[in-house]
Every structure is written in structure tokens, then in C-alpha cells.
Amino acid sequence: MIPRHVQIAVVLLLAGIFAGGFYALRLQRRAQQAAQQAEAHPVAPSVSGPLQKVHLWIAYDDDGVFRPAQAKVELPQEPSGRATGILRALIGEYLKQPSPHPLPLGSDVRTVYLVNGLAVVDLTPAFADGHRSGALLEEFTVTSMIATLSANMPEIKQVKFLVDGKERETLAGHADLLSVYDVKTVDQFVQGLQ
């Protein structure tokens, strides 16, 4: 016969284990929700710096054209942060409602590396994973980003894209992300579709 006080201790212990497990599960779920919200959060403001005017090339899906625009954003002097801030200003336009060229929530630029005239743009996974599929739609995203970079930083001659720090074949099944883009060729295309 098990003594009564041992039975009570075992029951309390089991109850404690269940309660602890339940609490751990809730914590895990809350952490996942917080991570998802952070991913889906609109584009974060650029790193602080003086307010500057930037030139944007905005794609308009319905009309099949690009239109120039200007925005004022805080940009640092450091070139990599400056390029990131410029692209975030463009993405911010696309994330507005209504949008001329909708991008998925969580679309953002992680960083831009600059090496001897080559800009390597690292996109968030949400940017590519949630992007609408279609040759023209994907082309508009890629080319408007390149033309916007070029309009503000003429020293950039080539652009390459990464997603989450890794190479990816296409943006959403069509637009080539493995190739290195020639900025001059892209600029001619964008300016030809004004």
C-alpha cells in the first residue's frame, strides 16, 4: 500500500509537469506569432541620417509603365546603408494601399553590399516567397529596384540579387536572380516604358 502523502506528492508532481509543459507550449506559440508579426511588419525606416531627396522609378502594373517620383528619406552617408535606404523608400511605395505594384507584406531589403560598382541586394525571404508570379510582374519589381538605385547612385554599374543571403534561381518562377544585371541595359528599358 502506497502511503497517502506519497500519492499526493506524485499527483502534485504530475500536475506540475503538465502545467509546465502547457506553459512552455504557450511561450513557444507566442514567440512564433511575434516572429511572424515582425516578418510581416511594414518596411522599417532606414538608419538615421540627414533627410534627403531620392529619385524613385515606380512600376504601374495596370498601365504597364514606369513613372519617376521623388521622396524624402533619412539616409546615412555610408554607401551600403544609403543604398538600403533608397530601396526601402521604393518598397515603401509598393506596400502602400492602394499600390501601383503590390508586394507581399514583409518585403524588405536586408542589406546591400557594394563592391567596385557591383551592388548585391539581399532581399528578405518574404519578399520572394510571397511575390506574385508572372514574367512582367517580376520584371517590374527587379527593374524598378535597379533603376531606382542607378538614379541615386550612378557609381553602381551592375546589380545582383540574393534572397536571405543565398542565391535563388528566380524571383517567383520567371525573373532571373542568378544573373548579374547590367544597369545601363535596365535603365534603357525602364526609361523606354515611361
Binding site: 510582374l137 532571373d176 544573373s179
Partner: protein, 253 residues
């Protein structure tokens, strides 16, 4: 070996060397007679699916039709039942039939629902020594048909023996543009809105032949319009007429 000891090479060894040299020359001869297009230098990656048909190297003018996507890679999902991969395959079969009517040989890179890696599509096309490459896509927004050529700067100089895999198409941009212009012209003649534009559509950059990607699009909000057999037939006929003209076979009535 006799080439290390110049003066002591025997007559037998010389004869053997001569025979080996002749054998090498004969082995190289078929390659020398192949079409003048230079294959890209990079080796093709591993295939994810078997090609539909073996290359018919004996044909003088061969069009490779590439119905984009396939298998798990559906392309644009306009609805659960209307997928880009199915639209492109249906259009590809019509285009092959239209080309056959005009006496132009054509093969499909896929004639069923299976995936082929993008680089493998280029590798198969280049291995087939295609005269023309036509990729088929479907996508919003409408209503115009878009004809893409590679978004590359023109080749700066005459290519050597090998072409770089990533920019093989640069050498063919002029001829690709001429093909795109012809297709847009034929579509216009049939009152189908069309536009030619450069586009970064994979795998155009790696194709060592005149190459375009044709993207059909819905009429207004009606995605189902792309599956309309009449519409597909008109687009296929226009593309085939343009190709036949490029092949020197004239335009069909």
C-alpha cells in the same frame, strides 16, 4: 617516348603516331561539319526529367518549343484549375501543329506534366542545335501578348570558340530581336495586341540560338480567356507564320 628522344623514334612508333593522328582527325570531322553556332562553355547541370524526344540533328531548321514550368512547378496559378503550366503545354502543342502545317520541324522540351530545371532547358536546346528557341508563358496583366528577348547588353566582340553560359544569348540578340519583331507583326495582323520588350526571363540568357519568350495574358479580368482554343490557335498561328517567314518558308495563308 619518341617525342622525348628525338633521334631514336622507330618507324613502327612513327606509324602508330600517324594512325592515332588520323583517327583523331576523323573523330573531329563531324563536329567541324556541325552548324556554326558556338555551344556555351559551361557544362549543363543534372537533368530533373527525361527529355521528350531525342534531337533530330539531321534537320536543317529546327524550332525548339519550351512550354514553361511543369510538374510541381506550376507557374502562375490563376485558379486551382487554371495553371500556367497547363496553358503553356496546350499552346505549345498547337504551335507545333501550326509549324508542321508550314513544313517547319519543331520539338517540345516537355510533352507532359513534368518539371525540367531551367538550365537543363537551355542545355537541351543547345544540344539540339536549335535554329530558334521559343519559350511559352502565361501571365497577368493583360491584355497584350508580350514577346521577350534577353535583357543583356549586346556582345562587345566577336565570340571565340566557346560562349559563356550566363551570356550566351548576347551574340544572338539581333536575330532574336528580328524574330520578336516578326511575331509582334503577325499578332498585330491578326488584331491581337502585342509588344516586344527585353526581359530577364530564365533561361533566355543561356540559349545559343535566336530566342524569344512569348507570354499570353488574360483579356481583362477573364483569366479563362487564355484557355480559349480560338485564342490559343490565333496566337499559335501568328507565331508559326513569323517563324516560317524567318525559316524562308513564307507566311501561311
Amino acid at each position: 617516348m619518341c617525342w622525348n628522344r628525338r633521334t631514336t623514334c622507330s618507324a613502327a612508333a612513327q606509324a602508330a603516331l600517324l594512325a592515332a593522328g588520323l583517327a583523331l582527325l576523323m573523330a573531329a570531322a563531324p563536329a567541324a561539319q556541325a552548324p556554326p553556332e558556338n555551344p556555351p562553355a559551361a557544362p549543363p547541370p543534372a537533368a530533373t526529367a527525361a527529355p521528350q524526344a531525342p534531337a533530330t540533328a539531321a534537320l536543317r531548321f529546327l524550332v525548339v518549343i519550351d512550354p514553361a514550368h511543369g510538374g510541381d512547378e506550376t507557374g502562375v496559378a490563376f485558379s486551382p484549375e487554371l495553371l500556367e503550366k497547363d496553358l503553356t503545354l496546350a499552346l505549345a502543342r498547337r504551335l507545333r501543329a501550326e509549324l508542321a502545317n508550314r513544313g517547319v520541324a519543331a520539338i517540345l522540351l516537355r510533352d507532359g506534366d513534368f518539371a525540367i530545371a531551367s538550365d537543363q532547358r537551355a542545355a537541351m536546346t543547345n544540344a539540339d542545335r536549335a535554329s530558334l528557341y521559343i519559350a511559352l508563358h502565361a501571365g497577368a496583366p493583360g491584355p497584350a501578348v508580350r514577346v521577350y528577348t534577353a535583357m543583356l547588353p549586346p556582345a562587345a566582340s566577336r565570340p571565340g570558340a566557346f560562349l559563356p553560359w550566363a551570356t550566351a544569348q548576347a551574340t544572338y540578340l539581333d536575330r532574336s530581336g528580328a524574330l520578336a519583331r516578326s511575331i509582334v507583326g503577325e499578332l498585330d495582323r491578326r488584331h491581337i495586341g502585342a509588344a516586344w520588350l527585353p526581359g530577364p526571363v530564365r533561361p533566355l540568357n543561356s540559349i545559343a540560338a535566336p530566342a524569344v519568350a512569348v507570354e499570353i495574358s488574360p483579356s481583362g479580368d477573364d483569366d479563362q480567356s487564355m484557355a480559349d482554343p480560338k485564342y490559343q490557335q490565333s496566337v499559335a498561328a501568328a507565331v508559326a507564320a513569323a517563324v516560317a517567314a524567318r525559316a524562308g518558308l513564307g507566311s501561311a495563308p
